[in-house]
Amino acid sequence: RSPVVFFEVEILDAKTKDKLCFLDKVRVNLFPYPQWYPARQSIRLDPKGKSLKDEDVLQHLPVGTTATFYFRDLGSQISWVTVFLTEYTGPLVIYLMFYFRVPFIYAPKYDFTTSKHWVVHLACMCHSFHYMKRLLETLFVHRFSHGTMPLRNIFKNCTYYWGFAAWMAYYINHPLYTPPIYGEQQIRLALILFLFCQIGNFSIHIALRNLRPPGSKTRKIPYPTKNPFTWIFLLVSCPNYTYELGSWLGFTLMTQCLPVAFFTLVGFIQMTVWAKGKHRSYLKEFRDYPPLRSPILPFIL
């Protein structure tokens, strides 16, 4: 007759090492902490280690028959979709307020007037199109691996997006705006670059979505598809960021506005950090990851 193996599990607070919960024979004795809903629970095998995933199975973890877990409170959580929708709606609305020269922004004689430069109208269309695209992608395209993020992120992110949108929009729609030096040529080139990168960015998002069946959280290596805009996967791990950089470079060229250049630079730095992280985790997870790929810029970064 084979002996029965029951699991004993104790859950300790990662900081104070207090015993929060003890499961004997997988029977819960005490659970007095209802405010710590599952999304904000981080359960780990080591106080300073990585969080275990929801899908992890107790029997497959490297523990004996007595398992000790450490609990950490991740703080109030908010869903990724909510954050994205909020942080993208802001720039859309704010830019339009400056474009229509709503009162109290510029001198009263300019209230509700329109710019005499056609590039200003073009810029408004491009900026609005960009954020509409992002909102629609959030609703219909993206498949998120994590459901939630810490609540304080929404304040940080919205300050960044909304702040920069206001700063850029103020100058582009200003009555004293100066159009690009090289005029029509510069604007045309910029528009082509912008549109090219918008389509590219969208193609990458679709390709990434198709990698992952609905509801799953599996990770696969993305490869070029029939769409020529995805052929950049041959050289880059995160081409969505590459195309995003290209779009904003186009917008900078189109408006010839230093705040836009600054926004592009800051965004580029942040995306490079993300791309390097993603590239590193691809390399760790997949032995056969294509060696030719760079994180964000082909051969350079």
Binding site: R1, K15, V26, Y37, A39, V57, L176, L258
Partner: protein, 288 residues
């Protein structure tokens, strides 16, 4: 609760967290004792003593690390001695000027070059943190050094009319005392011979000096405001081909306001350091 489920076990019903699988006991098990073994995972770090010394490559890496840290220590010792000397020179020059001339007018001009040199050189401390030879946060050091650079280059150096203000002398004296204490503390630390009075000075004088220094800096910036407004220095107006504008006057006001959130953070950071270094208190830090 989301995702939790009920599992029926011989002992009763159990609440099972989402994703956890409960292995059902075999039907004929009720009379057998449960196996309560304890298979301990070796704690991280304890395996080292039972492993072999390591490959030749690891030995080479260890050697490289040792030379690097010897080099780092040598450089840091030289750097801290040099900075202590520099600020001592500044202190003596300031005292000499005041004793000889009896006034503070013209004092700034007389030490301006030395001050600019040594204060700017402190930028290298940010690099020390970034490459890891000094274990301090890059951001804390960065903020402190940048605020000093800002005061020296963008206020006192550029706005000549405020160079004879008393508030300038105030923050110069504060900076000098603080820096001499700080750099000599680092020097003695690196040489492993730290006299207690230096440690005492470093972790107690700031309690008075920090606020005094902030007052000196703020008063100086405030005195500079009318000059900046009148002259329109460092400012750019529309229209221009970069489609940007910058008003140094409002920038200074924002800088002054930024002392409100930043100064308490740095001050309490130093207070926490003081409790840890002087009183040996163990403080549970808030996780980032």
């Amino acid at each position: 609760m989301d995702g939790w489920s009920w599992a029926a076990l011989p002992a009763g019903l159990a609440l099972v967290p989402p994703g956890w699988k409960v292995s059902p006991p075999p039907l004929n098990s009720t009379s057998l004792p449960a196996v309560r073994g304890r298979l301990c995972r070796p704690a991280p770090g304890t395996m080292a003593s039972t492993e072999e010394e390591g490959t030749a490559e690891e030995k080479e890496n260890n050697n490289k690390k040792r030379t690097k840290s010897a080099l780092a220590t040598a450089w840091l010792t030289f750097y801290n001695i040099a900075m202590t000397a520099g600020w001592l020179v500044l202190a003596i020059a300031m005292m000499r000027f005041y004793i000889q001339k009896g006034t503070h007018k013209g004092l700034y001009r007389s030490i301006a070059r030395t001050l600019k040199f040594f204060q700017t050189f402190a930028l290298v401390e940010v690099v020390h943190c970034a490459i890891g030879i000094v274990r301090t946060s890059v951001i804390v050091t960065g903020v402190q050094v940048c605020s000093r650079i800002f005061m020296v280059w963008f206020i006192t150096n550029s706005i000549r009319q405020i160079q004879n203000e008393e508030s300038v002398i105030l923050f110069l004296v504060v900076w000098t005392v603080t820096e001499i204490t700080r750099y000599s503390y680092y020097t003695f630390n690196l040489l492993h011979h730290l006299p207690y009075f230096i440690k005492w000075a470093r972790y107690n004088l700031f309690i008075v000096l920090y606020p005094l220094g902030v007052i000196g800096e703020l008063l100086t910036i405030y005195a500079a405001l009318p000059v900046v407004r009148r002259s329109g220095m460092f400012s750019m107006r529309l229209p221009n081909k970069y489609n940007v504008s910058f008003d140094y006057y409002y920038c200074l006001i924002i800088v002054m306001l930024s002392y409100i959130p930043l100064f308490p953070q740095l001050y309490f950071h130093m207070l926490r350091q003081r409790r840890r270094m002087l009183l040996g208190e163990v403080i549970v830090e808030k996780d980032e």
